[in-house]
Symmetry: C2
Subunit: 361 residues, 2 copies
Amino acid sequence: MIDTPYLEVDVDRLDRNLAALAGAARSVGVDVRPHAKTHKCAEIARLQIEHGAVGLTVATIGEAEAFADAADVTGCTDIFIAYPLWPTAGQAARLRALAERVTLRLGIDSLAGARHLASAVGPARLQVLVEVDSGQHRTGVTPELAGSVGAAGVAEGLDVIGVFTFPGHSYGLGDTRRDAATQELAALATAADGLRANGIEPRVRSGGSTPTVGLLDAEQANVLTEIRPGVYPFNDAQQVEIGSCGFDEVSLTAVATVVRRDNHRVVLDAGSKILGADRAAWATGYGRLLDHHDARIVMLSEHHAVVEFPAGSSDERIPGIGSFVRVVPNHVCNAVNLVDELVAIDGSDTRWPVIARGRNN
Amino acid sequence: MIDTPYLEVDVDRLDRNLAALAGAARSVGVDVRPHAKTHKCAEIARLQIEHGAVGLTVATIGEAEAFADAADVTGCTDIFIAYPLWPTAGQAARLRALAERVTLRLGIDSLAGARHLASAVGPARLQVLVEVDSGQHRTGVTPELAGSVGAAGVAEGLDVIGVFTFPGHSYGLGDTRRDAATQELAALATAADGLRANGIEPRVRSGGSTPTVGLLDAEQANVLTEIRPGVYPFNDAQQVEIGSCGFDEVSLTAVATVVRRDNHRVVLDAGSKILGADRAAWATGYGRLLDHHDARIVMLSEHHAVVEFPAGSSDERIPGIGSFVRVVPNHVCNAVNLVDELVAIDGSDTRWPVIARGRNN
């Protein structure tokens, strides 16, 4: 028996989440290339590939190496590092080595970045996509500049095959998700036209975050050829609170012990070193309790979560000292990256190693 | 050469920070028992012991095991798990095994907890301290109840040797630190009197967070016998912003590459998976730049930090694409827990393994 706190996966729910997304994408003819930064597990990547995913997305060279090493488990040799890398000489050598082992895609988001990538990596079998800013204002060129950045890549000898965006501004309440999905489509359509105007066929038009892929329909599929959601296998408290999923679609929780109780307030042994410290401005707390929807985590330390139940909650509804509760992290990607393995609840004592944990570079 | 992002320690600054705290404590006759959750490194624990620390503090059984295993490096066999554990049978066995190897201290903060600890662990060489709430309202009994909890522990056969508190409400602007330090002293004094009234000599009166130990003076030393600061070897952006230290006392940074620049806005390849996602309500951003005090990290993703410089900043003051910058995490404890090793800048290429990373249980 493992001691608390630990991260546990409900494998039935995980499989339902994988099947639902795969079915939705298939029904409108869009490819799925899941972002593996969320789970960092070979076993979950394998399930995604079995559900029809065409490849994997990662954020770093280190994650790409971890999944290339696990290709015998995952069955996947097609990896997209969806990041505008600025490789050092050492990173360029790693990218060349990767390109020998897998079909490797990279992102560019500036003229300087396209030139640097081409000169640093040199001749290698790379596919390149232009990153477009659809409204998050993080990385990516404005849609109107995608054509000229793509043309610069081609002039440097890069194989530019399309455009991609991450609509990270889809995380919010109210109409935020729908507005972001609309902007995502418009940005990709404009960027694709820009590539065409420069003689480049944008055969890959890649988008999709977990909040926006829930809105996938035929109109989106006219623009998108591929989606890259990350969080959907597990979901988390953020997805619940912005309306992307229900609590019954959350498959990963931190199992914690109640170490103190005062009336309607309990303290758990799970803190920011297993849940992550994420708390968006609109979040109602530092995570949620899977089995107590009216409770809120009002304070989070490294090894403490202070939970308040509504005043007047009946005594037997509040977990007693020494009992176990299941905590839904706010942002599951950061929670998974804190542990070496996930406990998979599938009828036997299975552990899934988090093979890409800490692979930041 | 290591690729960015990675965590680097300026060993000269680290040593100055260790010496300054050790000197301040020595001058007023207070023991230092540093909290090792911050660095989780045997080499830094060894330096702390060399600077006169009487033992180590940790937060979990797993951390205690990691430092017990490293006793040959650290020279320390005196470990305090400053947490009100509610041990399972498995954890109780681990505690018994630890108590055979090191001088082991534990915390209790309720009558139920004292009874459960005594019955679960059984006869073992444990020292027990009563945790007191000095105003953070996380764990700990009210100061007035410390005597009865201590007496319950003694009645169960536990060796109750004193009281401890963590003034975590010291994190804030203005007079917050000073007010918390005042409350910390008052709470420990009341709790110590409560133990005495129950016939227990409170020979250990342990307090101290990095924000409050900077205010250590003879008046505090009348109450405190021991302090347990964690962050002071490294410091971090939180300590800078609440006034506990200056930028020139920050010894740990994340080295990052600029991957994009637009005018006075740059994007770095360091995100919440190396900096942590902590952002207190009073913080000015998601961390600071060590060499650019007027810059702010306005957005943080897993592998991106979006940094804004003041409008009108001269062009040459803004780091160009491909250049390296040093980022000060908001909360260094969570940053260190994300990496397997620290790069120690000491004139040679030294790596310090983070031996207790992820030891949450």
